[in-house]
Symmetry: C2
């Protein structure tokens, strides 16, 4: 079926054709006129991904002093086979993402069905009528190989195309608010020139209508506070000129909880863009430094996690020291330092590099090798060794597998011909590792496993009864604890039953005495 | 005068001779017997340096449930020409350190003069009578050159000598509590074997009297909370066996404010020793990463300090991001990662290294070069350029010059034949740079200076009136702000008067408009 887009539940949605496009255009005109008549301003959100779809609802949910909605939101999704299904799904009032946050379905029902302030579309006409466009399209970094982040680059082709589409359609006084994490310099050196170029081509006087480009980055966290992490959190913003700064402040103040979480205005968009990637680099570096201490701790009979807790007693200065683990995953920490380094060299042509940042990415990307090393200390030859990997998402109690370190672990194990089985109750399909079946039932992976790797700290894994695991397993498997997920009591149970327990950073394992 | 020790105020104190040693021994016997009769336990503090002299007073100040002193303290200082003067000075009730903390003179008066629970001595007999010895002697790392921390090492000769002295004198059941920051492995692999060896030589049965060696590190901060940073702060400890752990807990609970700042007990002394050096490495790495962002910010018109403030809005996770500056100084952050790396390789013989940690030290040690680069962008030829360096201590509002980055700055400037003048109201003599005169009067350094470097953020520098500086100077000097010490208003005043202002990380300088 070449002309359909399949939703995750396999429902097929027919891609737009000429007829439906004509109808959609008419519908957009009607809805926009209706909303204008209600005094609402029109916002388009470009990209209905992980951030865009929630941000769209937050904007659509915003009310003024009179309690009435301020904005109507056209959520825009390109009609690709991969993503078009989001449009019809959203328009039935359902979120296109699954989440443990109960507010997600609520806010979709409220904005789409009840307030009727949010509607999804694939038609670019949405940009023509918008007073504000919020940009939430993807922008990725490409790393040629793990451990070579210094060669990483950012392919901005798709992003530039998106900006050009906007520039061809928007009103001259429309504000473009870039929310995507972008390489520093993007708003000023990429977005603004594209808009200027297209405005000129459209005969728009850019001295009268200088491009209004602003930047404000989100700090979204998957999980139970998904909506709150977008709406009720500190925001940083800036604009390429005074007017865009003013408009961005007004807009963000209208839609976000800025009373509790005041806005920070920076001097220019370079600064705001830098803040985002520096912020994530800070975390990436703090994780990277823990790995070498984990190895040191293993070698000298120390549990690096108790050491970490001791250090974290210093509230306010040391209490955010991060922890070693299987590795670092997710969308941000793995790529943002690369975006920054690329921007330095390619956007600005500076003959320098962010060496600490890039080194951190390389350490973090190759961290799963250390867990392999721990396994190989017991099984020098991994061929046909049955390994159960518990957890393939990149974060606890969430099904997000983007850049999951478990993928690296599984790949490395398979390269050595180990017999790997994976389990994750939150992950039914693993898009990055389509060749791997992820089981939802522990009884499919535990029995007979010679090595059981606790790779992710899902709550269910932490509370697993060791005796039950061993009963199911039927042997004395090697237990690998990747980030202090197992309590001393649990470890003792495994040891008493004759299993060996090893762990990242766990040089001190409680004795049986 | 070969047989005297000169105090900082130039008072000469005659070094001990045979006669005074006999007298001192008798006095120690008398005092100890008197204090035993009062039911007090005897503590010896080995080393009356920056930590030891204050720790001694804190122990001597401790009282039991009955409000009476628990311990009598013999503060021990070796009778060297450099340090012997501390003994007579302390015994007149005066601190051997100058400090902005008003509690310092108070606690000396209280413990030496009023409670009479603290007395300084140079005689090793103090160790013979002690129930507890607290070790506060120095242990330094040596780096062959800046930027080569990977070749750094720790000369433990002096420390081992100190431990051997203790082992030759202490009672078999005396607890040795090491408070010095030591390479991981020191208590277990250096101190314990020395004590065992000497005990055996003394005919002590080490199965009956295993060495009681414990470790607990301080987290002292110079400045206004000097005493509180030792007494009212979180402590970590461990011991080489259960008895030493128990004794250490009892002792620390008696002398420190553990109700408000609970103790953390770790599994072994390797862990406790690691916690200290990892804790400081964490800070060193967090500073190191800021330098490359400072340079990036300078290149793209961004003020990295406003970016940092924006990031620090994320309370609890990002609010301790440190700041770039002239460089990193002080006793701890510059050496502790080196101690750890050396211990890994030399104490434990591990074929690995703490690469992130060592890289951070190298970046931090060479950071002053960046300030030189900023100056040279304006003065490519530094020969005979008159440079005023404001601030030579390593920290604000304190006169501590240990490993001050200003020393590196001054050295680099002098290497290029600049005419450097230094000012610091807190520093009269600069022990690490004896050839440099440090002025206490700005009128001696500002007039005629072509470059004025705000190197340290002393409050008086921050509040300097730019018009007064320029009037005193008589020209239009280049102003260098090493760590965001100057406000936007101050910078504008300099700019208005025709001076240029540059700064580490300050790519965005407020405009005059």
């Amino acid at each position: 079926m070449p002309n359909v887009s399949l939703a995750p539940d396999s429902t097929p949605y027919t891609l737009p054709n000429e007829a439906s496009t004509t109808l959609e255009r008419a519908e957009l005109e009607r809805v926009t006129a209706e909303q204008r008549a209600l005094g609402r301003r029109i916002v388009a959100v470009q990209g209905l991904g992980f951030v865009g779809c929630i941000m769209a609802t937050v904007i659509a949910d915003a009310t003024g002093a009179d309690g009435k909605p301020i904005y109507f939101v056209h959520g825009h999704q390109r009609p690709s086979r991969r993503s078009f299904w989001k449009v019809p799904v959203i328009n039935t009032g359902k979120p296109p993402v699954s989440s443990s946050d109960p507010e997600v379905p609520e806010i979709f029902t409220r904005t789409v069905d009840e307030k009727k302030t949010f509607r999804a579309t694939w038609h670019n006409y949405a940009y023509e009528v918008a007073d504000i466009v919020v940009v939430d399209i993807q922008l990725d970094a490409t790393k040629p190989a793990f451990g070579e982040a210094e060669k990483g680059y950012c392919d901005v082709t798709h992003f530039r195309d998106g900006m050009r589409t906007l520039a061809k359609h928007i009103k001259p006084d429309c504000m473009i608010l870039v929310e995507t994490t972008v390489p520093p310099g993007t708003c000023d050196r990429i977005v603004k020139p594209i808009v200027e170029e297209e405005f000129k081509a459209r005969g728009i006087d850019t001295t009268k209508y200088p491009p209004l480009v602003a930047h404000s980055y989100e700090r979204v966290m998957p999980g139970g506070s998904y909506v709150r992490s977008i709406r009720d959190f500190w925001r940083v913003f800036s604009g390429v000129n005074e007017q865009s700064k003013r408009l961005a402040r007004e807009f963000l103040t209208n839609v976000l909880n800025t009373e509790e979480f005041p806005l920070t205005e920076l001097e220019n968009t370079n600064a705001s863009e830098m803040a985002k990637v520096m912020e994530n680099t800070y975390r990436a570096v703090n994780i990277a430094l823990t790995l070498e201490w984990a190895r040191f701790a293993e070698d000298i009979g120390v549990n690096v996690f108790t050491v970490r807790d001791a250090i974290r007693m210093r509230k306010g200065t040391h209490d955010n020291l991060l922890r070693p683990s299987l590795g670092v995953g997710g969308y941000c920490l793995t790529k943002d330092p690369v975006l920054a380094n690329w921007a330095m060299q390619d956007v600005f042509g500076i003959d320098d590099s962010l060496g600490v940042a890039i080194n951190a990415v390389n350490i973090n990307d190759t961290m799963p090798q250390h867990t392999i090393d721990i396994i190989k200390a017991e099984y020098p030859e991994l061929r046909d060794v049955r390994v159960a990997v518990l957890g393939v998402s990149y974060i606890e109690d969430v099904g997000d597998t983007r850049h999951s370190p478990s993928a690296t672990l599984v790949r490395l194990l398979k390269e050595e011909w180990a017999a790997v089985e994976c389990h994750d109750q939150f992950v039914e399909t693993w898009p990055e590792m389509e060749e791997v079946s992820v089981r939802q039932n522990l009884a499919e992976v535990i029995p007979g496993a010679e090595v059981i790797v606790f790779a992710v700290g899902h709550s269910d894994y932490r509370s697993l009864d060791p005796l039950e695991v061993l009963r199911m397993n039927g042997g004395k498997p090697l237990i690998i604890d990747c980030s202090n997920f197992l309590s001393d009591a649990t470890i003792r149970s495994y040891l008493q039953a004759g299993s060996k327990v090893k762990g990242v950073g766990k040089g001190h394992i409680p004795s049986l005495a």
